[in-house]
């Protein structure tokens, strides 16, 4: 069967993005007792934007929070949203990485135990007539156990999405729609691929019936 070379390269690129974005990986940090812990509900706090380059407008709610809520449900976790980061002041990646129990206990609503903080570290795109449109993104995620005052899971998600076909149509498409949304979406998949599945018996009730 004849396959147009450009068509096949598109599929290769698509598969590459899927493999890189979705295949499980090891988290930067994961509590060895994570699987033994019964996480009844995860509270997802507002996304922290720590970008230096803020030239791209990002809908944090839709592109990051909604996505992580879906991914957590797909892994069998109950989730809830919070509109407040808590009484913590400035939050940076370095502050969260080295956070002390007193700091962790002030994150999010006082009554909630399992707190997830997501960070958008970088998103950029390069759309030139001379090269293929490319988008990159970097996100970070933290799961805190407020009762113990510790980090339970921490990881980063990165992505690079590119149209390898080339030509004017993909460039025009990228100029109108951008490559940033795809880049963030793939980075979120990459981030959450290291988050363990909930193996509790009642977790099946939470999982969406029709995966997207």
């Amino acid at each position: 069967m004849y396959t147009h070379p450009r068509l096949s390269s598109t599929w290769i690129a698509f598969l590459f993005v899927c493999i890189v974005g979705c295949s499980p990986k090891n988290a930067i940090f994961l509590d060895p007792n994570f699987q033994l812990t019964n996480i009844n509900k995860i509270t997802v706090l507002p996304v922290v934007d720590v970008r230096v380059d803020t030239s791209i407008a990002v809908n944090m709610e839709k592109q990051i929070r909604e996505k992580v809520m879906y991914l957590l449900k797909a892994k069998g976790y109950r989730t809830t949203l919070s509109d407040s980061l808590g009484d913590v002041g400035l939050i940076t990646e370095d502050i969260l990485k080295s956070s002390k129990p007193q700091f962790i206990r002030r994150l999010g609503p006082p009554q909630d135990r399992w707190i997830m903080v997501l960070m958008l570290i970088d998103v950029a795109q390069e759309i030139k007539i001379t090269s293929n449109p490319t988008g990159i993104a970097e996100v970070a995620g933290f799961l805190f156990d407020k009762e113990k005052g510790v980090i339970t899971w921490r990881d980063k998600g990165i992505s690079k999405v590119s149209d390898v076909v080339g030509g004017l149509f993909p460039i025009a498409w990228a100029m109108v729609w951008g490559m940033d949304e795809q880049a963030i979406s793939v980075a979120m998949d990459n981030l959450m691929s290291s988050f363990p599945e909930n193996e509790a018996p009642d977790s099946k009730e939470v999982r969406p019936r029709f995966p997207r």
């Binding site: 230096v52 380059d53 030239s55 400035l90 090269s131 990159i136 970097e138 990165i158 690079k160 590119s162």
Partner: protein, 188 residues
Amino acid sequence: MTKSFTQRKALDSKLNILVLKPFLKFERLGDESTLSASIYRGDAIETNLTIAAIHEVELRHLIPIDSRNQSNNTLLAVCNQLQSLSPQLSSGQISNQTHSLLKLLDTLIGHHAILVQYLKVKVGPDASRTIYTFSGTSSHFQATLISCVTGEVLWNNEVLLRDLPKVNNSNFTESIKLLFKSFPNGTE
């Protein structure tokens, strides 16, 4: 290349500015594994950043002091401790430990402020090995001026360069210029 957050105040021209050795961190994009600075000519970058900072301070009619040239062992030890705290200082985190170090510095040398520089480099996949031009590599330059007397952040700025910091590259020089563009002048 992008310039971001800036805070600007006029400074007392009698204020001496102790320029600390820059803190360099090279890590792999995505997994945070540390990479050796020597692979990327870390020493040359460090020297360039220090010289550039001293030059920029002089241009503002302020008095720079190079922490590398100090002979007092206590002073050197304090400088080294503060330099190791550069990542925290650059994000405005002044802990009790930092406060006591700044107080000690104030008693040792008097009317001073410290200039902290922190360069965090995230190295992405080698762009030359792929068909893409955008590798995700970035150099995040941060500079912070802190009063030794009050522990207050007098000025800070940051610049993102989407490339490796290459000493002889015009983008590197331009990034440093951008970083110090808003550095306050000394007033009479």
